[in-house]
Structures are given as structure tokens and as C-alpha cells.
Amino acid sequence: MSPLRAEARLLLRSGRNLFAVILLLMLTSAAVWSGLVQMDAQRATIERVEREQTRDLAAVEAAQAGPKGEAGYNAYYAFMLTQDPPPALAFAAIGQRDLQPFVLRIRALGLEAQRYDSENYNAELALPGVFDWAFVLIYLAPLVIIALTHDMVTAEREAGRLRLLLSLPGSGLWRRRTGLRYALVLAALALPLITGAIIAGAPVAGTFGIMLAAALYCAFWFGLALLIGAALRASATAAAAMIGCWIVPTLVIPTLGNAAIAGAIPAGKGIDLTLAQREVVHKGWDIPKEETFEPFFVNHPEWRGKEEFEGRFHWKWYYAMHQVGDETVAQDVADYRGALTARDKWTSRLGLILPGVGTMNVMHRLADTDSTAGFAYQDSIAAYHERLRKFYYPYMFNDKAFTRADFAQIPRYTSRVPGGSLPAGSLVALLLAAALFLWLGARKVTRVSSARDSRPKDD
């Protein structure tokens, strides 16, 4: 029997160790299943909205489009679907997808009054957090690693086996023990992930990238556990120290860091932009129409001279009012986006020194479910909304009828291409943290056989 096989038998015959590994496997499997179900639910929602969309548009077309059809009515009633289907790896790292909208029906009215509609109930979703593979990796896997390693050295000392083990001529005892535990933890994480990736049709490179980040994150924890376990003499003390190391950099510092970032970089709420835009629009009803058209012509001079109309209402004035509303709050929108982007950057920087945050950043970027992905969807909505306006304005300003043929020409939204990428900086920081702590841990455990560690209590 090889030493490795002997070590594997010793490890797996221990009920506690076996329980820890099986528990991790079950949690990971449950998380993958939960992620797949949640992403399927998002796809199902998008499909359901698409079906409703088809029916709604048919009704609007029948009621509003025709030889005497008005573009303004059509634009008013035609809600156009935009959607951000879950990327294939989203099941593993859901990220912001449960908070940010993934489907939004918009009209050619003011954009800013529409795109933050879901913000008021998303806050409730943020409270319980999300249970996905990344959550199990970041928060639960370290606890399993602690359970497997906290007494790897100290239990031998406490049981009086340490001198016997060290008296044997073989080598690589701690390397084998750590390596086996590392392999088991990685297997418990990888098997469900790979199964989920196959089911979701996830790209091999992305799946590999996520596993690479997970392997580095676990290596960091094994290094830390080895360092503490070899440095302390009692199992209970080692366990307490490791739990402390889990709480502080995984829970306390990220929470304080996020609070500090939020305090240092204030950002309003999207709903405030909605209200501000609506106030401008509502004010437009009470002011002379030229006070709406003049700011409108600043950015759309091509329609100057076509603003005259008979009567008190015309769609071109109504839509110009909405556009001016958007443009009035444009700086606020830019500031809001800038603040969110700055917060995102600082969170990334936090990830360079906190492996948990760094791993989370890598996961969400690879899965394309982070704030960057949310911003990209928002940008694609804005671009699409611009296309809608440009499509409708000629009909309104030229007083052209909006026929069924025109209705068929209404631009349709094209989903953005998922843009998951490997954040090299975060990955390198993770690699360095893992390498540093593995080195420190290996160095410390090698010294276990030194005079101090092997010194008899009673000579």
C-alpha cells in the first residue's frame, strides 16, 4: 500500500472528515441546482414576457396603425421588450442578476422614468442574499477546510503520535495530508459545477477559469490553515483562531469596506432620477411650448422649424417634453453611473487584498453577472431607446401617417452578447495570496519536527 493510499484510508475512515466532505458536496450540489433553477426561472420569465409582448404589439397594431395612424399613439402604447438572458455560467455565480432587471419593456417616452422601475422591490431581494455555487465557495468551503485541517498537526501532538510519525523514515507526511484534503475539497466543489456547466452548456474556458479561481482560493485557505495549525499547540485554539480568520476577512472587513466605500462615494437612488425626470415632464405642461422646444433643438437641430402645430396638443411636443426631461437629468444620470462605477472599482481594489472579495469579483466577471454586466445591459437599453426615438420622430415632426407597414419597421431590441472575461489583476492577486500562504504554511509545518515541537514535556 502506498503512503498516499494509506493516508486516504486514514482520512476517509474518519467520520468527521467524511461528513465534512459529503456536506460540502451536498451544499455545492444544492447550490448548483438552485442556480440552474433560478436561471431557468429567468429564462422562463423572458419567454413569458415575449409571448405577452407579441400579443400586446398585435393589439396595438390593430388599434393604432393604419392609413390614419399616428406615430405618437403607437409609440405611446407599444411597449418594446428588452431582455438580458442569463449567461451560461450565471448558474454558478448569480451575482447581481437577482437584483438588477433582466427584462424591461420600454416605450419611446422618457427613458429615465422607465429604467429604474424595478429598483424599489429589488432591495427586498438583496436582504436574504443569493445561494449559489460562488456563495458556497466563498463562505462555506473555508469552514469545511477548517474542519478538515484545524487539528491536522495539533491532534497528532495531543494524542502523542507526533513523535512516532516523525520517527518514521518516510517523507512528505504533511504534503500528502494537505494535498488529499485539498483534492477532496476541490472534487466536492468541481463535480457539481462541471455537471451544472454541462447542463447549462457553459463554455469550457469559463468553467475552467472559475475552477482555477476556486483552486487558488482554497489553496489560500489551506495555506492559512496549515500556518495556524502548525503554529499553535492545541486543536481548540487552532480552530478558534481559524474561525476568527474566517470571520474577519470574509465577513467583517468586506462589510466595513463596503460601508466605507458607500460612505466615501455617495450615490443617489435610481428612483430619484425617475422622479426628477418626471418633474421636468410634468412642468412642461405648464410652460410655453417654445420653452420645451428650445432646449430640445439644442441636441436635435434637424427638427427646428417643424415645431409648429395647430391646437394645443401634438405628439412632437409631447415627446420633445420627455426627451428634454431625460436631457435635463442627464448629468445626474452620469453622476449616478459614475458613483456606481467608482464603487465598483474600489470593490475590485478591495478584492486585491481580500481573497474572498477577489474570488467573488473573478467569479462574477467570468460569469458576466456583475455590475459591469448590469451597466452593459443598461447601456444597450439606452442605445435601443435612442433608436426608437430616431425611428418615431420623422413620423411626428413630418406629420406622416403610421401604417401597418411602418409598424412592422419598429426597431426590435437585440440582446447584448454576454461579455464574461477573466480579470487578470484579481486572479494574479489571488495567485499571490495563495502562493504566499501555502509557502508560509509549508515552512511552518516543516518546522514541526524541530527541537521545539518535538521537545518532550517530561525529560
Binding site: R9, L10, P456
Partner: protein, 245 residues
């Protein structure tokens, strides 16, 4: 006794070692031949376990030389450890493994064959009931655990055996059985160094007894041919090391 004239299996010459500023070994000279059982007696702090640590290569003496079958445990710890088996005082093997599995585990770590042809004769030699071979060790008595540890040492079939307080906590019958095992080891030409507080046990089995006082051998006594030690004289000598029986 089968003491030979060849190179000693265990040899310490002028060994000095300190823990911090506290000297523990102060010019220790000790040698054990193959086929010899040497009992090293001494009180607390006399340097008994430190002597074992020096032989196992756990510590590097500040001066003097240590050799196990001619190998320096400091410069070649693996080579030296391959020549010796160590049985610690409180034998606590893995409770969730059986006796057989425990021996197989430690043999595997030592790079030895772990087959039944190696393990079963060793377990048989120490007199452990064969029904206990495949039972988890959580229910084993101290004596049974001691037997498994000795079986492990025998299974390794090495020329040097280091025993740290081997009869501590054993009942009288177990001590007699243990002495029988050491007789077997002697017959196999194994050099045995046992570190002990137990003068009676040492007298019963040892070929030579060394009294370790303040880090050096103050006196050695050798059993005469077919004769036993004078227990009364030994008691008076031993009491001087700081630990009475």
C-alpha cells in the same frame, strides 16, 4: 546477552545539548550493541527523552557525535530512521482504524511492505488476540495498544529499537509478556535502548543499565553471565538520580 564486539548499533559520544540556556545533555557517552538490551534510567530532567530525540534526529546536539548503525541522524535523518523503530510512552494510535490498519498505515509511511505476511506474524509475536486484529482500537486497553505499537516496531524489522517508558501503565502480566517480546528482539540481534523510570522492569530484562544524571551517564552496571542485578544496590544508586521507584 549476545553483546558483540562489532561497531555499536547505537553510539553517543560526548553529546551536549541545551534547550535555550538550560543544558540537558552534558557530555553523554552511551553505546548499545546489536543483541543487547540497554536500560537508561534517570529522574525527571535527567535527559532521557532528549537522548531519544538526539537518536531520532529531532535535535542537533551542540557537540559530540550520534550514530545509529553508523549513520548520523542529524545529517541523514531518513537514513538513520530507516534503521530504527521508536515506541513512544503513551501509545495512541488511530482509534478509528483497526490494529491491522494502524500497522499498515505506519508501515506505508515508513515505505515498508504492508501485506498480511508482514503484519500478521508481528501481531502474533506480541500475543495480541487474533480476534482483536480487525477491531477498531478505540476499545483497546493500554496494554493492547502497547502490543500493537511493539508489533509495528517488529514488523519494520529494523536493527534498533527505541522504547520510551515501555512498561508505564502496564499490568504485571503485560509487563511479563513485554519482557518476553524483548527477549525475542534480543534473539533477533536487535539493539534495544529503553528509557524508563521502572527499575524493576529494567532489572528483569536489561543486559546493561545506565544511570543518567544531569545529562551524563554517571554509572553503568552490567548483568553477570546468568546472574541478576543486585536490586538493593541498584535502588540506592537510582535514588540518587532524583527519582525513587
Amino acid at each position: 546477552m549476545a553483546q558483540g564486539t562489532a561497531e555499536p548499533a547505537i553510539e553517543l559520544a560526548g553529546v551536549q545539548h541545551s534547550y535555550g540556556t538550560a543544558p540537558v545533555l552534558r557530555g553523554l557517552d552511551l553505546s548499545v550493541q546489536r543483541g543487547e538490551i540497554y536500560a537508561l534510567l534517570g529522574g525527571n530532567g535527567a535527559g532521557k527523552s532528549t537522548t531519544l530525540s538526539a537518536l531520532l534526529g529531532f535535535i542537533a546536539p551542540s557537540s559530540g557525535s550520534v550514530r545509529v548503525c553508523g549513520i548520523d541522524p542529524v545529517s541523514d535523518p531518513r537514513g538513520a530512521r530507516a534503521q530504527m523503530a521508536y515506541v513512544p510512552e503513551n501509545v495512541s494510535l488511530y482509534d478509528h482504524l483497526t490494529a491491522r490498519e494502524n500497522i499498515a498505515y505506519f508501515l506505508a509511511l515508513a515505505g515498508h511492505d504492508t501485506g498480511a505476511s508482514v503484519i500478521e506474524p508481528a501481531l502474533g509475536a506480541v500475543g495480541l488476540d487474533s480476534q482483536a486484529w480487525d477491531r477498531r482500537m478505540s476499545g483497546f486497553s493500554k496494554g493492547m495498544r502497547q502490543k500493537v505499537a511493539i508489533a509495528l516496531a517488529l514488523a519494520r524489522d529494523v536493527p534498533v529499537l527505541l522504547l520510551d517508558e515501555p512498561t508505564s501503565g502496564l499490568d504485571p502480566r503485560a509487563v511479563l509478556e513485554f519482557n518476553g517480546l524483548l527477549d525475542t528482539a534480543r534473539e533477533r540481534q536487535v539493539a534495544v535502548l529503553m528509557v524508563t523510570h521502572d527499575l524493576v522492569s529494567a532489572v528483569d530484562i536489561a543486559d546493561r543499565i545506565g544511570f543518567l544524571t544531569a545529562g551524563r551517564i554517571e554509572e553503568e552496571q552490567q548483568a553477570g553471565e546468568g546472574a541478576r542485578f543486585d536490586l538493593n544496590a541498584l535502588h540506592d544508586r537510582y535514588a540518587g538520580t532524583g527519582q525513587a521507584i
